[in-house]
Symmetry: C2
DNA sequence: TTTCCATATTGCTAAAATAGCAATATATTT
DNA sequence: AAATATATTGCTATTTTAGCAATATGGAAA
C-alpha cells in the first residue's frame, strides 16, 4: 500500500469506491442503496454513477439500477492480460487437475483473498474462473501465505481496526501463526477434514497458488512440492514476459 | 453509451482514462510516457497515478513505472463475477471444443472487440483466457454482429471521426454490410481461407460468441446452429442468475 | 388507467478541490 | 561523481464540486 499522495484526486477515490461496491454487489444496485452502503451523499453517488455510465464502465438498467458494464469487462480483461498472470498461471495450474483436488489461484486484497481461479475436481476447468466472492484471508491458506509476506505493521493496521480476523482471537496470535508460515515456506489450513496448502508466487509475492482436499501428511507434502515447482515455472515465465514487454516498449 | 451527465466528475473521467491506457499498455509505463500518450499534463497524470497507487488499483515499480495492481485484479474478478457472463458462458463454450475450431467470446468496446475468450483448438482451454488485445471490430465476426445491434447514429459517430474502420472504405458500405448481418442473424467474416461466424448473446446484446476455422458452407451453417443454441442457453441462465440476484437482494 | 409516492436527477452557488508553474526529490546516464 | 531526465510536491488563482431545493421519472397502489 503506497502512502497517501500530496494531492489525492477526490473524485477518483470516490469513483473507485463506487465501482468496488458495485463489483461486490449481488446484482444491479440503485443509487439510494449505494448511497447508504457507502455512507456517501446521494447526489454525489448519482454524479459518480452517471459519469461511469457515460464512460461505459457501468450500465444502467431500465429500472434505474447500476451494474458493471462492457467497459468494465474490457478493463478487466485488458488489465488481466497486461499483468500476464492469468495467461501464464492458468495452463500450469490446469496441469495439476489430475490430482483430483481443488486448485486455486488468488491475490490478497486488504483482509480478503480474491480467487482468480477456484477449480473443483470433476468440473470443467473453465467453471473455476469467476466463481467466488472475496473470502476472509485468515481462513484461507492462500490468504495466510500472502499475509505472511506483509510487514508486521501492515498486518497490525489491517486487523487492529476493522479487518475480519476469523479464526484468531488476537493480532498477536495471528502474527505468531504468520511467522510460522513464513518459516515453513507454505501455509496449511484445516477445516472439516479438508486440508488446504498454498505457496506464494513471486518475490515480492503478487499471488498465491493452492491445493485443497482430503489428504494425509504424505500427500500434503507432495502437493506442496508440486505447488512450489509450479510457482517457480510461473515466476520464470512472468520474468520472461516482463523482458518481452520491455523490448516491445523500446521498439516504439 | 449514456449521454453526458449534468455535472460529470472530471477527476473520475481522467482517472479512468489513465487506467484504460495502463490496461492496454505492453508493460509498466512511466508518468511522462502516459502524459504524452493521453495528451494530459504531466502533473495531472502523476496525481492520478499516485491516487490509484494509494488505492492499490495500480502498482508502482522500483523504476517508477506503473501497471495494473492487485486491486485492479480484484475489481476485474469481482466485476466479471458480478455480471455472471464469464461463469455462465465458459462451460457452454467449452462444450464446443470438440469441433476442433477456434472458439471466442467477446464484447464490443467502441470500435474494437475485446475477447474474453479466444481458444485455439488443441490447447488447454484455460490458455484462451486473457490472451488477446483489443481487435478492430470491423475485422471480426463478433465485432460485426455486435455493431449490427448498434443504432445507425452510433455507428456513424464511431466511424465518422476516428474509428478504425478496417476492411471498408466508407461508413455507407459498412452500414450496408451491418444491415445484411442484422437480417441474417449472424455475421460471417472471411480472411486467408479462414471463415469466422458469430452470433449475439442477449437482448439487447451484451456479448457475442464465435467459431473460426477452415470450413465449407455446410460446416458454417452447422456452426451457426450450434452457436445460436449455445447463445440461447447462456441467455436463459443469465436470466436465472438475475432472478436469483434479485431474490438475494430482497432478503437483505 | 390515474394518482400517489419514492427515488433519480438537475440547476445553482458557496465552498472545496484542483491545475499547472516552479522548486525540490529521485532514478538513470555519462 | 556529476549531469541529466523524470517524478513529485507546495502554492494559489482558477475550476470543479457538494448538497439543498426544485424538477423529472419509475413503480406501486387505488
Amino acid at each position: 500500500m503506497e502512502r497517501k499522495p500530496a494531492q489525492p484526486v477526490k473524485g477518483l477515490e470516490d469513483g473507485i469506491a463506487v465501482l468496488q461496491q458495485l463489483a461486490v454487489s449481488a446484482g444491479p444496485v440503485s443509487c439510494l442503496e449505494l448511497s447508504c452502503e457507502l455512507g456517501m451523499e446521494k447526489t454525489r453517488v448519482n454524479r459518480l454513477l452517471k459519469t461511469l455510465s457515460h464512460l461505459g464502465i457501468v450500465y444502467r438498467t431500465s429500472s434505474r439500477r447500476y451494474a458493471p458494464g462492457a467497459g468494465m469487462h474490457v478493463l478487466a480483461a485488458q488489465s488481466l492480460y497486461a499483468s500476464g498472470l492469468f495467461r501464464v498461471a492458468l495452463p500450469h495450474l490446469e496441469m495439476l487437475e489430475s490430482l483430483g483436488h481443488l486448485i486455486a489461484l488468488g491475490v490478497l486484497w486488504r483482509d480478503k483473498v480474491c480467487y482468480l481461479l477456484h477449480h473443483a475436481p470433476g468440473t470443467p476447468f473453465a467453471e473455476g474462473i469467476g466463481r467466488t466472492r472475496l473470502y476472509p484471508a485468515t481462513r484461507s491458506s492462500l490468504g495466510m501465505i500472502l499475509l505472511a509476506q506483509q510487514p508486521e505493521d501492515t498486518v497490525r493496521e489491517l486487523y487492529g481496526g476493522r479487518g475480519e480476523m476469523e479464526g484468531f482471537d488476537s493480532v498477536e496470535s495471528l502474527l505468531g501463526k504468520l511467522c510460522e508460515v513464513r518459516n515453513c515456506g507454505y501455509a496449511c489450513v484445516e477445516a472439516a477434514g479438508t486440508v488446504s496448502v498454498a505457496v506464494k508466487i513471486g518475490e515480492p509475492a503478487y499471488a498465491a497458488a493452492g491445493i485443497s482436499g482430503k489428504m494425509g501428511t504424505k500427500a500434503e507434502r507432495e502437493c506442496v512440492g508440486l505447488l512450489l515447482g509450479t510457482a517457480a515455472k510461473i515466476e520464470e515465465e512472468m520474468v520472461n514476459i516482463n523482458k518481452d514487454n520491455k523490448i516491445r516498449r523500446e521498439r516504439k
